[in-house]
Symmetry: C2
Subunit: 582 residues, 2 copies
Amino acid sequence: MSAYPFAAEFFSALAASGVRHVCISPGARSAPLAISASRDPGLDVSTHVDERSAAFFALGLSRATREPVVLVCTSGTAAANFLPAVVEAHHAHVPLIVLTADRPPELRDCGAGQTVDQTKLFGDAAHWFFEVDPNGCDERSLRIAAGLASRAVAESLGHARRGAGPVHLNWPLREPLEPRDPGDDAPALSIRGHVAVARPEAFPDEATVDSLAQLAARHEAGWIACGPADLTPREVDAVAALARATGWPIVADAASGLRSGPHVDSTPVVDAADVWLRDADLAADHGPDLVVRLGPTPVSKALRLQLEARPPAELVVVDPTGDWQDPSHLATRVVTADVAPLCERWTSAITEPRGTSGWTRRVLALDSRVREALEGALIADLGSLNEPAAVRALCASLPDDTILYVSNSMPIRHLEAFWPASSSRIRVLANRGANGIDGVTSSALGAAASGERVVLLTGDLAFLHDLGGLLAAIRHGLQATVVVLENNGGGIFSFLPVAAEPERSDFDQLFRVSHGLDLSHAADLFGARFERTRSSEVFRKALDSSLRAPGLSIIEVPIDRDASLAAFRSLMATGVREGGRA
Amino acid sequence: MSAYPFAAEFFSALAASGVRHVCISPGARSAPLAISASRDPGLDVSTHVDERSAAFFALGLSRATREPVVLVCTSGTAAANFLPAVVEAHHAHVPLIVLTADRPPELRDCGAGQTVDQTKLFGDAAHWFFEVDPNGCDERSLRIAAGLASRAVAESLGHARRGAGPVHLNWPLREPLEPRDPGDDAPALSIRGHVAVARPEAFPDEATVDSLAQLAARHEAGWIACGPADLTPREVDAVAALARATGWPIVADAASGLRSGPHVDSTPVVDAADVWLRDADLAADHGPDLVVRLGPTPVSKALRLQLEARPPAELVVVDPTGDWQDPSHLATRVVTADVAPLCERWTSAITEPRGTSGWTRRVLALDSRVREALEGALIADLGSLNEPAAVRALCASLPDDTILYVSNSMPIRHLEAFWPASSSRIRVLANRGANGIDGVTSSALGAAASGERVVLLTGDLAFLHDLGGLLAAIRHGLQATVVVLENNGGGIFSFLPVAAEPERSDFDQLFRVSHGLDLSHAADLFGARFERTRSSEVFRKALDSSLRAPGLSIIEVPIDRDASLAAFRSLMATGVREGGRA
């Protein structure tokens, strides 16, 4: 019995359910899936050598499009290579539909080649696992195929208290794997069906909304803090309206969706808290007694430490996905609801909007002084190019409707400190589910495959970790800019106390993965434009021209680790000092 | 409570239990493990950017040394990147001791950064999982640490009906992570203990040995078939002695350990079965009525198909690891025992050794005719360099005491067909647990880190899949030669029937991952010597000089896929035709 009719129906139903992109890593066992996907006129298929890169590519593409993306691979360790991106997708709530080809039962656990135990291979990181029986071709079987595809899409998109995430369908496939029967190429029967699935929104109950409205009336000194949630436009509008109604400023992560956008002009937004919260006095004088936390945990460690040092009387965690995002264990209330309906109802329940209060004006004034002091210091030191200067140049240069993909470790921390709020339409994405430095390049290139303009800000270790991921750019003709902050082996550990102790001769060996590579050869290998610059001016020009050039551009910014650390600390000190001059 | 005293004792006991190598991927959470490992004078520490490459590096190092190798990583997706190599190690029975740093319970499942569910992250692929409590520093705690390390080594080495494999110890670690207390640098107490563990050998029972001896007396037409087991010298001796006593030829996989070595001169060894078993008549005339299968399933598909077409009356599967290696479901007897004691007892129980019988002489004569015909055809076509010619050149050029690491997909199949048996001491290794093309370069470089001379034979897709793995060569000053059979996107699918159908325009897009890259840039990036050649003579010279050069050498052999396929089929036809001229 061939799997082709079932697979054709399955992919047809995926397309009908809103799926557009299928990322395939070639293999023989998965041929029925690959061939069936490629034949479906509603699906756009791309192929990828390395399954790990393929999975991060799919993740980035799903992030950019906010749609489920399908992954296909053959049996064996191929599937195991999906795990890092599946784990990230689980925690970041990215809908991936993972289809793994497998041997049928008679070839499992008996020494057959390329056969591993793929049952629940991704453990709890997969939100749904299903072992497919793809062998039928009658009408009932095809209904099963269509229903299965529809359900896979629905499960990947999630539901109340679960959120989106990866799902895993394992396909036992028998030889012959290539299409052989006439029915394989043109199935005798095709129902072209799918199940329309209505997704629920999670609304807060009336009693909760009343309580929240009372909180708003009771607390002047409130913050709305949002982590790297990449909120949708509707969510941004709802949060901004709540901020205006309560008078509480939004403490907006760079990757929250709230730091950039038209709402910034009319809404109180704090963008330098990561800087001035490093000072205990400023924090004590401007800290809130109520915090509303939306979605994922904020990036700022200073924010976390200050909240732990001076817990607010009320900490409301809005938790759309059931993740209980409260690593500091300070929550007084967890509200399971989607962000937009929660904020909309809360705003409606506020009968007397406070508007911007004196307390909020004081916080915003402090925040402005700090941001201006940082800006002034960066302008004064315009010649040299370090991480803060690179972030500033990106902010000044990127046109509207650009996706800025940011690597974990230092780049996102630098963005957090040095990315000013503005009305520009820049979308900041980062893999903040598990905060890994793996797969960052592939994620950014996947985002570029959506057709959006993409700039990646990354470090040299993340760049090397996913070096082979660059292959996707040349194979799929993607336009993208990769900015590599190159400090020859990672800078984050320089921030550890242990790094400052001169007797720790083992430190460099153990924590700085020095490599001494000339990254221009990577550009040569993958057919990319390459520029290396230590000058802010040249950097901006390179950035500008990369955005107009076809294909892949790599801009390397060599960073001196010690000078960079000193500059960072000097900027932090400047920000705190100027902030204190009220 | 610091984890340093516990970790120091743990690593000390690992060293006392025979561990020598620790492969570390840097991170902050894993600092207590990395620093403690690096301080132990008995341990050799290397660092690796990419955890996936690190894990395959450790796997190759463990393969080369036949010792457990330790892996250390930080929390999050870092650990997930170990899965491909852990799955391979599980199926290939390679002892890896995987130590993952984790957040402590209070930071789990509540939105803390870089925190994923690492409990049993590798599922059943880890032979043992243990959640460590590293917080004690009294004598009892240190005894626990020493016992835990000793047990981790024992579990990784396996026991009867389990075999060696990866084990996973998850370490919850609290801040501060760097050494801070005086006791962190010099523990007040250290017991320097470990538990000596006696590993059992799995012996066959008397009744089984009697039955096997009777089989030997009853069957003249027997084969001893051994898959890619990389047998130890003792095992090779035991199998060779059994072959001489029974008169049954050894049908030796290239990676079995039985095709090369001094025993070949005095033992009946068949090395071209993969060629002549493609012919049904030759197979029928020379096929066995009894087969003893040792360890993993043989690589040869022709062997599998012929046994399935004409099942032997007796198929004895010797199964040291409880894997029930019988994908064709032809076994009449499964004997759980280690290879050496089984073969030694079986040989001892044979009271009247048959010696080489007429039947065996006929098989060996056929095999010689085929091998000579292939050799003749390759010599006649000396100018052009294709995969068979490259294998032949390797066989002719590699000095004794070389490890030839072979990639999966086509390289190992070409080796299977074209690697002649000889008395040379070449050890052939391949990742035949799950037969993936991932991590092959890192595995070979890990083998090179053992101090052995290593040559890797790989394809361009495997090379690109693990491109970043090359970094280990330059960072750790490894000497190795990488031979890349470059056909711009993988040749194995050209062997599928579907590839021959001209109307399949989607075939190239879906199955041949064409890339058009110039691999010399990869050599430039990683500081490797590079040579590209289409000539057998130049290839041999490049190979010779690479073996004498320091550092990494990459030799690219451009392959025309269609010409290569034609040459392969022509050689197979020649082998069969000449073999039939009895």
